[in-house]
Symmetry: C3
Subunit: 203 residues, 3 copies
Amino acid sequence: MPTFVQILDFVGTFAFAISGIRLASAKRFDWFGAYVVGFATAVGGGTLRDLLLDVTPGWMTDPIYLICTGLALIFVTMFGKHLIHLNNTFFFFDTIGLALFTVVGVGKSLSLGYPFWVAIIMGSMTGAAGGVIRDVFINEIPLIFRKEIYAVACVVGGLVYWVCALAQVDDYICQIACGIVVFLTRILAVKYKICLPTLSGHA
Amino acid sequence: MPTFVQILDFVGTFAFAISGIRLASAKRFDWFGAYVVGFATAVGGGTLRDLLLDVTPGWMTDPIYLICTGLALIFVTMFGKHLIHLNNTFFFFDTIGLALFTVVGVGKSLSLGYPFWVAIIMGSMTGAAGGVIRDVFINEIPLIFRKEIYAVACVVGGLVYWVCALAQVDDYICQIACGIVVFLTRILAVKYKICLPTLSGHA
Amino acid sequence: MPTFVQILDFVGTFAFAISGIRLASAKRFDWFGAYVVGFATAVGGGTLRDLLLDVTPGWMTDPIYLICTGLALIFVTMFGKHLIHLNNTFFFFDTIGLALFTVVGVGKSLSLGYPFWVAIIMGSMTGAAGGVIRDVFINEIPLIFRKEIYAVACVVGGLVYWVCALAQVDDYICQIACGIVVFLTRILAVKYKICLPTLSGHA
């Protein structure tokens, strides 16, 4: 039986892969290209984190991420036209993925002995760097640099984790608090159209 | 005396570097930029593989790859205009490189104790990721995501390696079979214009 | 009290971060995006070097680089319009950063036992790869591949380091000579508009 966290991980990976595959298909990528972009979107953030932390990337130890991306590709291929009606559902799943990946990234870094400020960066990278790699592959300016509260939600969640830990709250509660804050920060930011200001542009 | 494999490695590196340098020159890169793009095309895939496998990248242990890229740059500078007549030759050498790099990548991963499904990904990365880095540097959508059987040939070759190994064929034969299949898959796919389908494009 | 090298490191990091933040602001990135681009410009070269050398990236051991990038962001936000008058100053600081980062990269690689030809590449990467990552993030062809003597100044400085070391000059003197040569090479190249030739462009 998969655990609750494993189910969330699968849902998040699936949603991230879907986002990569849909953007790739909009650029007329072939199946292989779409698969690679979907996979990189799903596991790219965790891979960058693991390279920096000098541990073996998680996807190299369990083929579930490859399989999950394959299912996402089949899903997009079958329901391509109708997926637009599911945008709210994907947004929901994607935000679950963002929250879970942040918690996993922070927790993994702390367990390896890194200080909290490094762990928060690693958590944010786990959540957000896959989308940057996706946008580099499809040759667009990374979306998260220009629009929406996205990686910032990870940073806020990571700070909440830190505050909870400082208050000597049980680690399990810290993680749940972090995940919920990431989730709510993004949902509320999108609902109320909260953005960061852009810079004025004098290069 | 260089071994047969070393000669193939040199030929493949040379062909990969040429491909990077020619595309860089089409974008008006200077000599330095063209050299870097050529080098990244030639060794980028192996470097990404070695970072993921946590071993020292091969080009940092032997200057032959730097020298080979330098020769490729001189070659393109001297024969720039006439290279287009050699396109078939380059395609042939490039495909030799693709086949050899795949075999090397699969073999290295297996010798480090990784399972076959990881080794096949590493083999494909060794062959194909250099071209992705090249295309990111010249600010184009990676060619292998949209056109031609390329990385897919590596995957097919890797699967053949696996099947041979499962059948307890001698490792040396597995490698030759893998290389020949990569080579033929790409040659035949180009000859008969076999492509993967593209996705329908509803982002 | 910070040492002289620490002050140069701070100045160089600040200048590199400013360059990333200004280019990001010209593309209408938000604060977060500009911060990330500035940070990647400042530490990206050293991070790539440390991944290749298999050591923990320097910025993960000391929060000073995060703080320095934050100050650079505040600086650009406050003085955005007027920064253009400081272009010569930034060019000066940026070149100090380039020189110092090269020396640090060469020295770190040598101290880990790598041969000189690897150390020179690592020094040049430390100085120049951050700018490449910056340009990938803002979706432009990397500037250093097309214009100006930049990474080539690092290579020249690295070669001077090598010659000094071969002549059994004290390591401290080697480093100063390397840094001065990088600095002067770039300053003189810009002053006298010295460029590398571009390739003729027949892809």
